[in-house]
């Protein structure tokens, strides 16, 4: 996704462009992803791995958090953050959860991906004022539709920057 430097056009401070009810059930366009050997190795290096499982042969396993790179395969306009109209200066990554229904996908695996907004809610924060939460679930399936892996991504939008 491409980040714009100017502030997003927003009507209300501390709120996402869409209301929580509007976000809930929102789905992304389906896309295909090929787990590529070079990307698998690049990712493993970036997370300081020296595990041969990620480097040996032409079909190495992918790292546990590798699926976080799926946006390479999706139109930037299909990003959940963009679609939800979140303001990037105040967006924090709350949590990321990966579930595998078998070993993580190997290089050479073609994945069929789609995301949906599973939860959207508002909480009162201690330092950052009102916090809007959005939980997006990405499903990664085989060509035959078998669910291979899931990624649950919790995004938080704070009312103010929360730096030290």
């Amino acid at each position: 996704m491409r980040y714009r430097r100017e502030r997003h056009h927003r009507k209300r401070k501390g709120r996402s462009l869409h209301g929580e009810a509007e976000l809930l059930g929102m789905t992304g366009e389906p896309f295909e992803m090929l787990v590529e050997v070079g990307r698998v190795r690049q990712f493993a290096r970036a997370v300081k791995s020296s595990n041969p499982a990620y480097f040996e042969g032409w079909e190495p396993l992918s790292s546990p958090t590798f699926l976080a790179s799926s946006s390479f395969w999706s139109d930037p306009k299909n990003s959940p953050m963009l679609r939800a109209g979140l303001s990037l200066e105040r967006v924090l990554n709350g949590a990321q959860e990966f579930t595998f229904h078998g070993p993580p996908p190997r290089a050479g695996t073609r994945l069929y991906v789609q995301w949906r907004v599973d939860k959207a809610y508002v909480k009162q924060g201690k330092r950052g004022g009102t916090m809007s939460f959005m939980e997006v679930v990405f499903e990664f399936r085989s060509a035959s539709g078998e669910l291979l892996a899931e990624q649950r991504s919790t995004v938080i939008e704070t009312a103010n920057a929360v730096g030290e």
Binding site: S49, S63, F98
Partner: protein, 143 residues
């Protein structure tokens, strides 16, 4: 691939502490390399001007970097093919020059269907003692 050295079910005990891993101080280069590998274009982690304008003292660490290292730390013990679940929750921000220690322990052993599973609790801790990332992982273990 065989996971050489992966412990067997019977040899794992609840409460067992994994030998911690300490990485060199964080650099913006680390953030950029991770962001390149993950297609994360958020300037907050490498563009000082952008981060300061947004109210931060400097660019701060991309949490998924430590989350990825923390997962790799657990995998080193229980095998790349055996991971079934990994969750990372982001606590306090980490900053360039921070030294992060990766640690964890076995908190549960259980059998689900015909699979023997171990649950781990994991931490990526700053040199201040503050928790940067908290993690949970589940692995299948061969009997």
């Amino acid at each position: 691939m065989t996971d050489v050295g992966v412990p067997r079910w019977r040899s794992i005990s609840v409460g067992e502490v994994l030998p911690p891993r300490v990485e060199p101080p964080l650099t913006i280069t680390d953030f950029v390399l991770y962001q390149g590998a993950a297609n994360d274009q958020n300037p907050m982690h490498h563009d000082t001007e952008f981060a300061v304008a947004a109210g931060y003292k400097s660019p701060f660490a991309v949490g998924m970097l430590a989350a990825g290292i923390l997962a790799d730390f657990a995998v080193q013990q229980f095998g790349a093919a055996n991971i079934r679940r990994y969750k990372a929750q982001f606590r306090e921000q980490a900053w360039p020059k921070d030294v992060i220690t990766y640690s964890g322990s076995v908190v549960n052993k259980r059998t689900e269907g015909n699979e023997d599973l171990v649950d781990l609790e994991l931490l990526a801790t700053r040199q201040t003692g503050g928790v940067h990332v908290q993690g949970w992982a589940t692995f299948v273990v061969i009997d």
